[in-house]
């Protein structure tokens, strides 16, 4: 899968307590028991790390669909800035290995 898939999985495992072995591209957020606020939490973490507001993702979305939405949003933004990943200047931080699209926001635990 693409880098954005790994990013979403990374957030689900590291921040939202999911087990990596239970995740696949076809898994939907509803199947994971991700409730309304947890989905919002996910989108805030994504926005914090990328500056991208994750739109159109619902409980019925699969992880692959969310990853594709993030990839689509990142592509034109990256073209504009000529740089990937996107991060605001004050949030810029060293990238995690294997996590090219999302940068840590300079704060651990979120």
């Amino acid at each position: 899968m693409c880098a954005t898939y790994d990013d979403i999985v990374g957030i689900l495992v590291e921040e939202l307590g999911q087990s990596r072995e239970e995740l696949s591209p076809e898994t939907t957020f509803r199947e994971l028991g991700i409730d309304s606020l947890a989905l919002l939490e996910l989108s805030v973490i994504v926005e914090e790390r990328t500056g991208i507001l994750l739109e159109g993702v619902t409980h019925g979305s699969s992880i692959a669909e969310a990853a594709a939405a993030l990839g689509d949003a990142l592509a034109p933004a990256a073209a504009r800035s000529g740089d990937r990943p996107l991060s605001t200047a004050d949030d810029r931080a060293p990238l995690k290995a294997g996590n090219q699209a999302l940068s840590a926001a300079g704060e651990s635990g979120r």
């Binding site: 921040e15 939202l16 805030v44």
Partner: protein, 408 residues
């Protein structure tokens, strides 16, 4: 038992003495203080607390559930699961609409606020967690417990500062006597042993500053006491009308036979010097149980180890009893778990009645010469205990007293 007696059929404890009823009871019997230097507090005048050891919420509750819970909810949930299992209840079999959850929680969880408000103050309001409010408000604690147990009866959080856990028992008793539910999961939970909370109480001059001797810092009724030690935990009880418990063949650990509450209407922080409100609450509990002072063989004191509380509580005990019965103060071992304390000490009182043993008060080396009490110290005391009070007094003068009797 009387027809409106309330049976305690289950208890659950998560305390600095350990996770589970057995660990906490053993810790109390050993009289082993749990206060210790806390590495997170190195920059504070008071750098010690009582923390629940080895509390791995991911292992106990699962990471998929625990990630969104603040610590007070995690503590409550572990305690509630133990209490429900201890009561022999199967959540698949009970009528969920007849099960209530009433928990004393003294304050919002301040666990995440420094981080979240830091984002707010640095002009990043859209970086706050959408869960910031939901995970931190007191009502979340009973709400998450109800959600987890599938309990669909009334769900309430009760806040009367350090009396919250005991006040919750009184509300639970009313719900059961009124017939609006058959089972109540009640008690208290709080996680105040956090840097921000320690800093706040330190500024109130409420905490012990015995930094050279943390284990000796919580010393209720002792001449050299200088404040309380912040603790944390959950003390959960399952209550049912006695008839309901008998009908399902449940084991009754003890009986909640009476409850009394009152307000000092004196000062927003200091107790009334003569313990006026505390006296009223104890006398109300006695009347509620149709007992007299002579029927009470033991008092599980609020006993915080602050100079003012312990002096006022002694005067209240003298006013109610003349010569008070044997007293102990669990906070000498466990510290002060704030809104959870009443639930924890109620469970300890239930165990005292069941086992006919009073655990000792730790650190009582020299009784305050102005306090004339029979405080159990050094080692546990076996005694005939027919009925006992569990006292809780919140700052602001909110007092609550539960009266328990033996099961038979």
């Amino acid at each position: 038992m009387r027809h409106d007696d309330i049976a305690v059929t289950g208890i659950g404890l998560v305390t600095p003495a350990g996770i589970g009823v057995d660990a906490t009871w053993q810790g109390l019997l050993d009289g082993r203080p749990t206060a210790a230097t806390d590495p997170e507090l190195v920059h504070l005048d008071t750098d010690f607390t009582c923390r629940v050891p080895g509390f791995d919420a991911g292992r106990l509750l699962g990471r998929a559930l625990s990630w969104r819970l603040d610590r007070f909810t995690r503590l409550a949930l572990v305690g509630a699961r133990e209490a429900v299992a201890d009561a022999g209840l199967d959540t698949d079999d009970w009528d969920p609409a007849r099960v209530a959850v009433v928990l004393g929680v003294g304050s919002n969880s301040l666990e995440r606020y420094p981080q979240e408000f830091g984002r707010f103050n640095s002009n990043r309001p859209n970086r706050l967690s959408p869960l910031a409010i939901v995970r931190s408000v007191p009502s979340t604690v009973p709400a998450e417990v109800a959600l987890n147990l599938g309990a669909r009866g009334p769900s309430l959080s009760v806040a009367t500062a350090c009396a919250s856990g005991t006040t919750a028992l009184g509300i639970a008793q009313d719900l059961l006597r009124g017939g609006s539910c058959d089972i109540v999961v009640t008690g208290g939970a709080e996680s105040g042993a956090l840097p921000a909370v320690v800093a706040c109480f330190q500024q109130m001059r409420a905490l012990s500053r015995r930094t050279h001797d943390p284990a000796g810092a919580s010393r209720p009724f002792d001449r050299d006491r200088d404040g309380f030690v912040l603790g944390e935990g959950a003390g959960i009880l399952v209550l049912e009308r006695a008839a309901h418990a008998d009908a399902r063949g449940a084991r009754t650990r003890a009986v909640l036979a009476g409850f009394g509450s009152s307000s000092d209407a004196h000062d927003i922080a200091a107790p009334h010097p003569e313990g006026r409100g505390a006296t009223d609450a104890m006398q109300t509990a006695l009347r509620d149980a149709a007992l007299t002072a002579a029927d009470i063989d033991h008092v599980n004191a609020h006993g915080t180890s602050t100079p003012l509380n312990d002096a006022a509580e002694f005067r209240a005990l003298r006013a109610v009893f003349g010569t008070p019965p044997a007293v102990t103060a669990n906070k000498s071992v466990l510290g002060h778990a704030l809104g959870a304390a009443g639930g924890i000490e109620a469970a300890a009182t239930v165990l005292t009645l069941q086992h006919q043993i009073i655990p000792p008060t730790a650190n009582l080396d020299a009784l305050d010469p102005d306090i004339d009490l029979d405080v159990v110290r050094k080692s546990p005391r076996s005694a005939r205990i027919r009925a006992a009070l569990s006292n809780s007094f919140g700052f602001g003068g909110q007092n609550a007293v539960a009266l328990f009797t033996t099961a038979t």
